[in-house]
């Protein structure tokens, strides 16, 4: 009797496990609307600082969100239309506010013994508003005599591969009487469907051919070996390249750069799920390489860091 109950329980567990694997969902990319540098520059939302004698301009997003109501209306319209399609976007203004409050909290957070929160310079650098796909917006109002029209461009940029995965743009109908706000609303309504068609093509490609990621290999200068060191008659860079070839989907990748100190793998296509049916991203994929290098015969201590879903960095030599 006890044996029978155990058998039934085991069977139930197996069925549940299979069902979970079957319903496992791929990791959903995050999207965020960002005004382009050109828009910020044209509308005067830039900060200028002196970088060793060279004047460098960077967009001042916070001021743009606080001062420009057209920007707010356009972003809100895009967000609303994307939410209708089941793809709510991250709101950049809220992300900036959350980052600021977290920074303030971290500065004052202490334990009862007086310990503060650990934060390396790298942690600080990574605290920026980010998303997997950036929807970059640019628009300007064109005037011909009394007629006004809006030139509007939406670009979907993959934050890791830098590829433009979706785009829609064009100049709207000129009008004598319509307000700029109305023309902008019209422009968004007209462009979003075409933009989403491009995004759908990108997602279809992702499900058919795997996620496209970037892997960087680096070394700490304290490590006495490098990527040309031989292990069992093979240089380390060849060993790593062979691993990437064997584990990427259909062996698709390009090794764009390789020196004794670094390697760059671009357009690496990885499966959306691992062998257990769990959804994986660049970090999950690179963890395999990390373990492979840490194990014998290589026994290389290494550090793995990730950036979103699509970029992983392995630094050899130390943790």
């Amino acid at each position: 009797m006890k044996l029978q109950i155990m058998k039934i329980a085991l069977l139930l567990l197996m069925v549940l496990g299979a069902a979970t694997a079957g319903f496992s969902q791929a990791k959903k990319p995050t999207l965020m609307v960002v005004p382009s540098d050109v828009w910020c520059n044209t509308n005067g939302y830039m900060q200028v600082y002196d970088d060793q004698g060279t004047k460098v301009k960077i967009p001042d997003y916070k001021r743009a969100f606080q001062e420009n109501s057209d920007l707010l209306a356009v972003i809100s319209k895009v967000n609303g239309m994307m939410a209708e399609r089941g793809f709510p976007l991250k709101n950049m203004e809220s992300v900036i506010k959350t980052l600021e409050s977290e920074r303030a909290e971290n500065a004052i957070l202490t334990s009862k013994s007086g310990a503060g929160v650990s934060e390396s310079p790298m942690d600080k650098l990574k605290k920026t508003a980010k998303a997997d796909i950036i929807i970059q917006l640019t628009w300007d109002v064109l005037k011909t005599g009394p007629k006004k029209s809006v030139r509007f461009t939406m670009q979907g940029l993959d934050a890791y591969t830098d590829k433009e995965v979706a785009t829609a743009g064009g100049t709207g109908n000129p009008s004598f009487s319509a307000e700029t706000a109305v023309l902008l609303e019209e422009a968004v309504a007209d462009k979003v469907d075409n933009f989403n068609a491009g995004l759908q093509r990108h997602f279809d490609d992702l499900f058919a051919n795997g996620r496209e990621i970037i892997i960087r290999i680096k070394k700490f200068d304290s490590w006495k070996n490098d990527l040309e060191t031989e292990y069992g008659g093979k240089e380390l860079n060849v060993v790593i390249e062979d691993w990437v070839r064997a584990n990427s989907l259909k062996g698709r990748f390009s090794n764009s750069d390789a020196t004794e100190n670094m390697m760059l793998f671009e357009q690496v296509r990885i499966p959306l799920y691992d062998a257990n049916g769990n959804a994986i991203d660049a970090r999950g994929f690179a963890r395999g390489l990390q373990k492979f290098l840490a194990a014998a015969p290589y026994s290389i201590v290494n550090k793995l860091t990730a950036k979103g879903l699509g970029q992983a960095v392995i630094v050899l030599g130390e943790k």
Binding site: A26, G170, N173, A189, D193, N194, F203
Partner: protein, 164 residues
Amino acid sequence: MLMLLITGFSSVVSAQTNKKANEDTEAWRYELEVAGTGVQGTYLLKVWSYSKKPNVAIEQAKKNAVHGIIFKGFAGDQGILGKPPLVTNSNLEQEKDEWFKTFFADGGKYMKFVSLASDGAVAAEDRMKVGKQYKIGVLVSVNVALLRKDLEDAGIIKSLNAGF
């Protein structure tokens, strides 16, 4: 008796005209022209349909508009972007033949998503005689957001977040 015969004959002729219009739709014999930017979630189109009877062409315009948005898409004009079709699989029409037959049947579900923008009034320049047929241009408004949602719920097309 004569009256019965006449009535019977006229309904057969009317059914034949409707059948011909449906065949034209299936053979892509219609043209879509963008007529303006509709309110959010809708497309405003001028649909050119063919029939021996103008009223059949006007009614068929609704079906042609939905058919075109699903399978054909349309080109842009004067500052308004053209739109790609809702389906991305070019063989879907054959693969889901039965479902689309019910959807596009006379008085079928397609009616839910389309309305005549000008209450069926046709401008004089939008009524042309081509051989023995009329070519009629009718302004229609299609609720694309609702149509897309309906097709997604029926599993005909994938939603943007499918698989995530």
